[in-house]
């Protein structure tokens, strides 16, 4: 009886272990600000004693192309391969995760054996803080500041600010040319709700970072929120 149970477990383990071993399933990449694409390679090895079939590999967005070296999908025990993922970075900045789902053998839909994640860090060249300034309806119509800080090797100058609403007036103050600015926003009144979108134009040499936006909102206060 003991032997039967051992054989049973051995069989179960052999079936369970029919997978590829990836030394890393998460890779972090620090991309330059001007990067249009980022490519990452994930190595793997079949450490089991059975062949493993890569049945499919799915990118999680249309911005990704995924390939497997040599188009090879079946891996004998001990064989290695590489999955390569290339991402279109579009107008991203900050941190973004991109995943590839890898289905092996008979993995059911939605249950891939492996999910490979690439965490891309793209520098934020123009930081607006806070992104939204808020006033309470009926509160004081006081001026508030949105700070604009440039984090680039070259100076970045603000060339203009436009607003979507007449309910606020705004003024741009230069703290340090090419480095730091302040956008001072003042509501004309706070009797009712209002919203403005401020488009901040710059002379940044990288097009995707050139225009930024910030917001001003007059609304009912949220309980517990700091004024």
């Amino acid at each position: 009886m003991k032997r039967a149970v051992l054989v049973w477990f051995a069989l179960a383990l052999a079936l369970r272990g029919a997978a590829l071993e990836f030394p890393q399933t998460l890779k972090e990449v620090h991309a330059p600000a001007e990067a249009k694409t980022v490519a990452v390679e994930f190595d793997f090895t079949n450490r089991t004693d059975k062949p493993v079939q890569v049945s499919r590999y799915d990118p999680t967005c249309s911005c990704m192309s995924v390939s497997i070296r040599g188009g090879k999908l079946r891996y004998e025990p001990g064989e290695s391969g590489v999955i390569r993922a290339e991402f279109d970075m579009g107008n991203f900045s900050g941190e973004v995760d991109k995943a590839v789902a890898v289905y092996l053998n008979d993995d059911p839909d939605g249950k891939p054996s492996v999910v490979l994640t690439t965490r891309v860090h793209i520098p934020v060249l123009i930081a607006l803080e806070p992104k939204t300034q808020k006033w309470a309806i009926g509160g004081a119509a006081e001026a508030k500041v949105i700070r604009i800080a440039m984090n680039h090797a070259k100076p970045i100058r603000v060339t203009g600010v436009s607003s979507s609403s007449q309910a606020f007036k705004h003024e741009l103050k230069t703290v340090e040319e090419g480095k730091t600015y302040e956008l001072i926003v003042t509501p004309l009144e706070t009797k009712g709700p209002a919203l403005a979108i401020f488009r901040v134009e710059t002379d940044c040499d990288i097009a995707k970072h050139r225009t930024q936006q910030a917001f001003a909102v007059i609304r009912k206060p949220i309980p517990g929120e700091k004024p």
Partner: protein, 152 residues
């Protein structure tokens, strides 16, 4: 040989027990379960979301949102082909008057909704932003999206 016979015996007993369980209790429930005590800090069960006063954000690809997104939801995904500033502007417009946001993506394994939720928090609107446990699948099973019916 004896071991093989014994293995066959164990398998037969296990199958018989499974068959009896199936006959008495029916097939296994394949619907998504949401246990509030096991949620991640930023997650919420569909049952916990108020029926009104919520901005729903669909973090799936645009074609999926168009095909079967929750009625009244807005789109915000991380597809670089999309205009992120347009997403921001629409989100601020909606959230300014409704500071409760729930983001969903394809299913419980999808990580995009968490990334979108983080981007919404960075708008500094002071909104309560949650990720829907089970994503679109839980909405579908609850009959909340186009072409679905409860319990599917």
């Amino acid at each position: 040989m004896k071991a093989i016979v014994q293995m066959a015996g164990i398998a037969t007993l296990a199958l018989a027990a499974a068959g009896v369980t199936w006959a008495i209790k029916g097939p296994p429930a394949r619907v998504l379960r949401c246990e509030p005590s096991q949620l991640k800090p930023d997650e919420v069960c569909l049952e916990q979301v108020p029926s009104e006063g919520v901005v729903w954000v669909d973090a799936r690809p645009r074609k999926d949102w168009v095909a079967n997104g929750l009625e009244g939801s807005m789109l915000w995904n991380i597809d670089p082909a999309e205009d992120m500033q347009a997403f921001e502007a629409e989100a601020v417009t909606r959230i300014a008057s409704t500071p409760r946001v729930v983001v969903y993506c394809g299913d419980e394994n999808c990580g995009v909704s968490r990334q979108v939720a983080e981007r919404i928090r960075k708008l500094d609107l002071g909104a309560e932003v949650s990720v829907l446990h089970g994503g679109w699948r839980s909405l579908n099973e609850a009959g909340r999206v186009k072409g679905s019916s409860p319990g599917r």
